[in-house]
Symmetry: C2
Subunit: 422 residues, 2 copies
């Protein structure tokens, strides 16, 4: 559908005036609404307060006192839980502190300083290139930028990254060392990787022996509706003879507390052995009391499933409100499209080319903070200036509704200004 199909120029001018009026109404309300970051709301956080309702000892099933040094790779209770979340064995898991991002970062550090599996450390290469399915997660790209990698944008499809492009690139270029993946409810599109994509990632030929998939399974159990499953990539890598190809990551940031949960990574036994060796020099251990309290609270996979249903109950109305308001205001105009994810933390909104920055600016004027336009692409530059990430979880429902109403007006205004100017 083309932009404002069926509208005459006169009608567009009138519509623009109407939007300007509505915009100025909202402006006068001095709103202060924030849809910028994927943060859980207070109600969600309250679900986990009982973690600290505990007066017993801190002795693990193996007899380790969590209040003292030891177990650099974490307590077994927490390993088991992440093993279930990620579909791997406990022995494949390393449990850390609260931040999985930190574990990803440190994984890059080790690759840069010490190299992977006897390969040249990435820090000694002229250049390292990294595949960045986009729109994607800005904090992934920020790590690449800090390490001065060349980021290669890979179009993100409904079932994962464009695998034809990925396969072609990695086959030829030894300096391409890895790819970012958020396989379940990808940030921000909500895409779930298909079995075919997982298999191709696991099995593809790579020129670099130390090519690695950074499998950020941040939303593994964050379903809004039915339970979704993705193919187990560690198994697939093993089957394909590329057992060491994948580093998996997960955390309870959006299960319990954002920033104060428990994070973990998982990989082949060989990788785990090498990583533990390095980690044991970096620190004596991670915060095991936090691990212990979490394991006690979450119990097991069934415990997590029940807990996540409570999250979904809070989040479903928010996601649905966004979807409803976008549909009501923008459907049929040919100026925007958006995703309706079945889980995760984001909705991805694509607006008419060249308008995303303008939309975000206008929203800001009206007191609605959005993730900066472009943030979902490498270097913060969306080549088509189209994509806007909506984070509906944090604001209370009523505020969220106002914010999305404002957003819709801003989309129309930005597009109308552009096409009437052209």
């Amino acid at each position: 559908m083309s932009v404002y199909e069926g509208f005459s120029k006169q009608q567009l001018i009138i519509r623009k005036k109407e939007m300007e009026q509505r915009f100025s109404c909202y402006r006068k309300q001095n709103l202060k609404l924030d849809m910028s970051r994927g943060k859980p709301c207070s109600e969600q956080l309250d679900l986990s307060n009982a973690i600290f309702e505990y007066n017993g000892d801190f002795i693990t099933e193996e007899g380790c006192d969590c209040r003292n040094y030891g177990l650099p790779d974490g307590i077994s209770e927490m390993k088991k839980i992440f093993a279930e979340i990620l579909g791997v064995g406990s022995e494949n898991v390393i449990v850390g502190n609260s931040s999985s991002l930190n574990m990803m970062y440190d994984t890059f550090v080790r690759a840069y300083l010490f190299g992977i599996n006897g390969c040249e450390p990435w820090g000694r290469l002229e250049k390292v290139r990294f595949l960045c399915p986009s729109p994607g997660y800005d904090r992934h790209f920020a790590i690449c930028e800090q390490f001065n990698m060349d980021m290669i944008t890979i179009p993100m499809k409904e079932d994962g990254p464009d695998m034809d492009m990925v396969e072609e690139l990695v086959r030829e270029d030894e300096l391409i060392k890895g790819i970012w993946c958020i396989p379940m409810y990808s940030n921000p599109t909500g895409a779930v990787y298909s079995d075919d994509v997982v298999k191709r990632l696991a099995g593809m030929k790579t020129k670099a022996a130390d090519f690695r998939i950074f499998w950020d399974n941040a939303y593994a159990v964050h379903h809004l509706y039915e339970e979704n499953k993705i193919l187990n990539i560690l198994d697939e890598c093993q089957k394909a003879g590329n057992a060491d190809r994948v580093y998996m990551f997960a955390s309870t940031a959006k299960i319990t507390f954002a920033g104060s949960g428990v994070a973990a990574m998982a990989s082949s036994l060989d990788n785990v052995r090498q990583i533990k060796e390095k980690i044991s020099i970096q620190k004596i251990c991670s915060n095991k009391i936090n691990q212990f309290l979490h394991a006690r609270f979450l119990k097991d996979y069934d415990g997590i499933r029940a807990h996540m249903e409570k999250h979904a109950k809070i989040l479903r109305p928010k996601f649905e409100a966004v979807s409803d308001i976008l549909s009501r205001n923008l459907s049929g105009l040919g100026i925007a499209s958006w995703t309706t994810p079945r889980g995760g933390y984001f909705i991805s909104l694509d607006v008419h080319e060249g308008c995303a920055k303008k939309v975000v600016e206008k929203a800001k004027e009206a007191g609605v903070t959005l993730t900066p336009a472009g943030a979902t692409f490498p270097y913060g530059r969306d080549p088509n200036d189209r994509n806007i990430r909506i984070a509906p979880t944090y604001p209370p429902l009523e505020e969220l509704k106002s914010a999305v109403e404002v957003l819709c007006i801003c989309v129309e205004l930005a597009v109308l200004e552009k096409i009437l100017q052209d």
Copy 2:
């Protein structure tokens, strides 16, 4: 005094027999005693259990909900506490997760990958050399070893490292990039740095513009008797025109929970700004709930002082028992000397040259685990094979006493075997 002065060879042979008998008595007891690591004992850990007796909210004085993302450099309540411990401003402090070792390690990572203050990243240099006052902390040296630095052993004196040697080395060699310091109750000798040493470290001319002092103030408030103070090195660096020279570290590992406390670093405002910039890409934030619970429990410097007095009450009898038993058994024989620290976690025992390894081996045979001989020197090699680190904090008092009795016998046996063989 020379070894076994005044003893005839016959007397030495008899003494050796006697020791062998006593040794075999202990062996039969199947002891399992551990004096290897500087771990707090259960009684000490119990002092902080009340940290988790809390049912209120997690809102900081600045209104931040610790259960959610934010504040990558920590909450202000905890910054203030570390500012007091380290004698700096709150704005000089970055609060992290639980491990100060991890913060030191990450500081090396940043120097290696990104360089300091615009200088060449250490990872791009042919070599990096590091000054290691010894006997020192094995985990410091292990970091240097992992990064493949050249470690230069600096003799540790009663008031700090041999500064004549330090000054001469750093003046000439641009590849010497830093020095490890544990200024208060140094691990393992218990030495407290004199004002003169602090001033010379702060003021000395260094060939490398990016020379850094890693000031691991792990035992800043860990007094066994009177309160000791060291000169504030950040002030001294500032006065000397070397404001950016020092990175300070501290943690509550041995105030609250080992491995699950709170760690922090402090430095000049310029350094702090640069570090924060990097950290904000590495993670969204550290575990603020743990910071919040700690700040609430410790309150302020007076709170810490009162709390540390309780630790001292538990530890004083242990340190004094070790000292008494060593004196009773080994004084006047000319075969060993040891420190009597006024705080910290260790006692340093020097035995007759070439005997330390043998002593540790023998102790092991009798069921007493000590830190491996050599561990207190770079590369785990004590050039004189003399130094043994005693960690008296962890074992219960009665076990500790047995362990030290065994140790004394092992010292005598090792020395007697050596000199009777010679």
